[in-house]
Amino acid sequence: MIEIFIGIGCFAFVVIVTVISIIKRKKGKCCNGDCSNCSSCNLKK
């Protein structure tokens, strides 16, 4: 039972990270770069 939970948890984690990354990028918020430097980044506009 716990293995199924681990499997689903890992799958969900991968999906969530991917979706958040895509949403942030679409919204124009850069998440992969160096955020402190990216405050002036045009991806944030």
């Binding site: 681990i6 499997g7 850069c30 992969n32 160096d34 402190s36 430097n37």
Partner: protein, 767 residues
């Protein structure tokens, strides 16, 4: 909510003040042009929250550069409640030129005299009350670096933001004043906001104003015909600039009393510059400084003490029994010393890995192994999750030590000097020294570096610089460099980690230079713009801001390890443990996995580079590493670790003697070396390929946005692939068969001759 903006000359400390007011950690550097776009943050110490906007540094409100347009448009269009004009108090005369223009806008203005600590240290004095009276706006002495006067500045800015202010000009020449007055009345009649500012700019023949007010322009032109100045003729912009400087010199400079009034006095900065910017010694000194940085970070033989004094190892001292440390104290000692003294970076990294990461992750992995979980779940957690994350985390101290030193160099003002020293050399390759500054930022992260290329005036120079920035190995590539270098040193017993790492960095720089030379003599041909930049004074980096910068770097690195790297590791582990029939594979069968088949498909392409088909069964891991590295470069080693952990569990390979742990990136690479028999030249070629090929997805997106043109962008991607392929092949072939060096030299000479011939032909055809 009220909005205050920070405006001032480049390198007068705006971003430092912005960080101080808002608690942000935006990138600061001691050279002009670090900020290329506006930044926003909040000041919360007043009755109401204030939005602070940091504008790029500008010398005037005329649209000479994109930064000046951004700053000007912001002040005019966004209508801030107050403009905080920051002035470098050590260079007040030139800074006040911008002030005279800001004062013409109908907005509350407050002057912040920054670096007041430096002024007082020099024994100079500024009478701020007198300056306040003459300018008609409040003046506050501050030191943004030392957090002095910031609260008073904000309090007074808040007070004046409640009162409306009408723009005032300092231009006193009667005839020009008359002309400006007439234009102002005309603009007021048209309902134009900030009429005084627009009127002056229109008289100056300002590019933006001419387009905005074509009808009024006719009236201005008509008046100008009857008005002609003896000195400047019809050059009205020069006439007005002269009037501003005259006003500053005549009326405002008297508020400053210099201890040593000699304008060309020899400051400590100029004394240091005599050595550091020496025309012969400048570059060798820079190379020594750069090597010292790598030596302090990576050397396992610090200051070569081990070799000089022939120091004994821990085993020689009898502190090891059967290869194990006698006690915890010896284990602790082994982080700092073992036959040689480890450099600070190396010692910190050993401590981090042996005492913290190794122990914590080892403990968790032990618990998982001891549980009743099914073997696949144990594999997923231990190899897929924990090994992937810990292999990346294991490089954190090295990254921080390296960036601490780069940060000190940036903050001190030395990097700006290097740009000047390199200008003469860069010019021969078709770039100005200014291009060096974004390149140096590339050692930290390619993204801000690519954005910073906006400060380059020429579009073709800008494109060429963006293309070579990824060759300046960023922090995310450091795990690839250090893990493979470390594995070469420990596994083959060859060379020193610091020397190999330094050489790889230099190879990246040389590749950049050669690429620029090639681009600027073919597709991106053009004049190299002149390089004019104000040399910043040397400043001692502040402990707090440096630590904040490092903390930000660490936070970012750790959060990336636990999100993108972790997710990628899970995907890598899953794809390496399932076949196309979605049947679970155990460790002996991973060569039949989806990932193995995918990697094997592309393996032949990399045979000339030394890590292709010749590596046999497990060689596909190298190819998968390249692909996962496109998401984030740290993934390369995380992939090695995730698969390497499975290999360590396999029979038939003798790993014990090497003390390999997959959670340590170096161990994972060592495991791959053992199972694939990959050679040193192939490993070096692999480093070079990852360093110079397409950067991570975030950097690619930034490059796309900055380059704009789709064709230029797709050419850039092709350029990265071709360059990485050629340079890696060169490294592998020369490393394997030394005589191929002559073949490569012949090819290079042929290319150079073809370029000369091509350029001559073009000139003749044009002529």
């Amino acid at each position: 909510m009220k909005k205050f903006c920070l405006a001032g000359n480049p390198n007068c400390g705006k971003t430092t003040l912005f960080n101080g007011l808002t608690g942000s950690t935006a990138h600061v550097g001691n050279w002009p042009g670090v900020t290329v776009d506006k930044k926003e943050g909040f000041y919360k110490k007043l009755d109401e929250q204030i939005e602070i906007v940091d504008l790029p540094g500008i010398y005037s409100l005329s649209p000479y550069t994109p930064e000046e347009v951004i700053a000007r448009n912001y002040i005019l269009d966004e209508k801030p409640d107050c403009v905080i004009n920051i002035i470098d108090a050590t260079n007040i005369e030139r800074n006040l030129y911008l002030t005279t223009q800001i004062l013409e806008i109908d907005v509350p203005v407050i002057i912040a005299l920054n670096f007041i600590d430096s002024v007082e240290k020099q024994g100079d004095k500024i009478y701020e009350k007198e300056l306040e009276k003459k300018l008609g706006v409040p003046v506050v002495k501050i030191s943004a670096l030392k957090d002095v006067g910031l609260d008073e500045l904000m309090q007074r800015a808040y007070e004046i933001s409640k009162v409306k202010r009408v723009g005032k000009t300092v231009i006193s020449d009667e005839e020009i004043k008359h002309l400006i007055g007439d234009v102002k009345i005309a603009l007021e009649g048209q309902g134009v906001e900030n009429p005084l500012f627009h009127a002056i700019k229109l008289v100056e023949n300002d590019e933006i104003e001419v387009k905005m007010h074509p009808h009024t322009l006719k009236m201005v032109e008509g008046f100008k015909k009857v008005f002609k100045d003896d000195i400047f003729g019809t050059e009205y912009d020069a006439l007005i600039a002269d009037a501003r400087y005259k006003y500053v010199t005549k009326n405002l400079i008297s508020t400053v009393v210099y201890k040593n009034p000699d304008k060309f006095r020899s400051t400590s900065s100029t004394k240091v510059d005599r050595l550091l910017t020496h025309r012969i010694w400048g570059i060798p000194i820079f190379l020594v400084v750069l090597f010292s940085i790598f030596h302090i970070t990576f050397s396992e033989n610090f200051l070569f003490l081990g070799s000089i004094f022939n120091l004994p190892t821990l085993e020689d001292l009898g502190l090891l029994t059967n290869g194990e440390y006698n006690n915890f104290g010896v284990k602790l000692l082994s982080c700092f010393y073992n036959g040689a003294v480890f450099s600070p970076g190396c010692a910190l990294n050993n401590l981090w890995n042996e005492i913290i990461v190794g122990e914590i992750f080892g403990f968790i992995q032990g618990l998982i192994e001891g549980s009743n979980l099914k073997s696949w779940a144990v594999g997923l957690i231990n190899n897929g999750i924990l090994d992937g994350v810990s292999s990346v985390l294991s490089f954190l101290p090295w990254i921080l030590v390296l960036f601490l030193q780069f940060s000190i160099l940036e903050d001190s003002g030395y990097m700006a000097r290097i740009a000047f020293i390199l200008d003469k050399m860069f010019r021969k390759f078709g770039l100005s020294g200014r291009a060096f500054l974004p390149m140096i930022m590339g050692f930290g992260c390619s993204i801000p570096a690519i954005i910073n290329t906006r400060t380059l005036a020429d579009e073709k120079e800008n494109t060429a610089t963006i293309r070579v920035i990824p060759f300046f190995s960023c922090g995310a590539k450091l795990p690839i460099l250090t893990a493979i270098t470390g594995a070469i040193v420990t596994h083959f017993g060859v060379g020193n980690a610091d020397v190999i790492t330094f050489s790889m960095y230099l190879l990246g720089v040389l590749t950049a230079i050669a690429s620029v030379l090639l681009m600027r003599s073919t597709s991106l041909k053009g004049e190299t713009p002149p390089f004019i930049m104000e040399l910043p004074t040397y400043r001692l980096p502040q402990f707090k801001s440096t630590m904040l910068h490092l903390w930000d770097k660490a936070k970012h690195f750790i959060s990336k390890a636990f999100t993108i790297i972790l997710a990628s590791s899970i995907v890598v582990w899953t794809l390496s443990h399932f076949n196309f029939s979605f049947k679970f594979l155990n460790e002996e069968q991973i060569n039949d996995s989806i990932l193995a088949n995918f990697g094997r498909l592309f393996q032949p392409l990399f045979t000339p580079l030394g890590f292709g088909s010749q590596l046999g069964d497990f060689g596909w891991v190298f190819i998968v590493g390249i692909v996962t590295g496109l998401i984030a470069k740290e993934n390369v080693i995380a992939t090695f670790s995730t698969v390497g952990a499975c290999l360590i569990g396999l029979g038939g390979f003798e790993f014990g003697a090497l003390d390999i742990f997959a959670e340590d990136g170096i161990g994972a690479v060592s495991a791959m070396i053992m199972v694939t028999n990959v050679t040193i030249p192939a490993l070096l070629a692999y480093i070079v390929f990852n360093m110079t090929t397409i950067p991570c997805v975030a950097a690619v997106a930034t490059a796309k946005a900055e380059l704009g043109d789709k064709k230029v962008f797709s050419n850039t991607i092709i350029f990265w692939i071709i360059v990485s392929y050629i340079v890696s092949t060169m490294v592998y072939t020369i490393g394997t068969w030394w005589w191929t060096l002559f073949i490569w030299l012949a090819v290079i000479i042929l290319v150079v001759l073809l370029l000369i011939f091509y350029n001559k032909k073009v000139i003749i055809l044009k002529g």
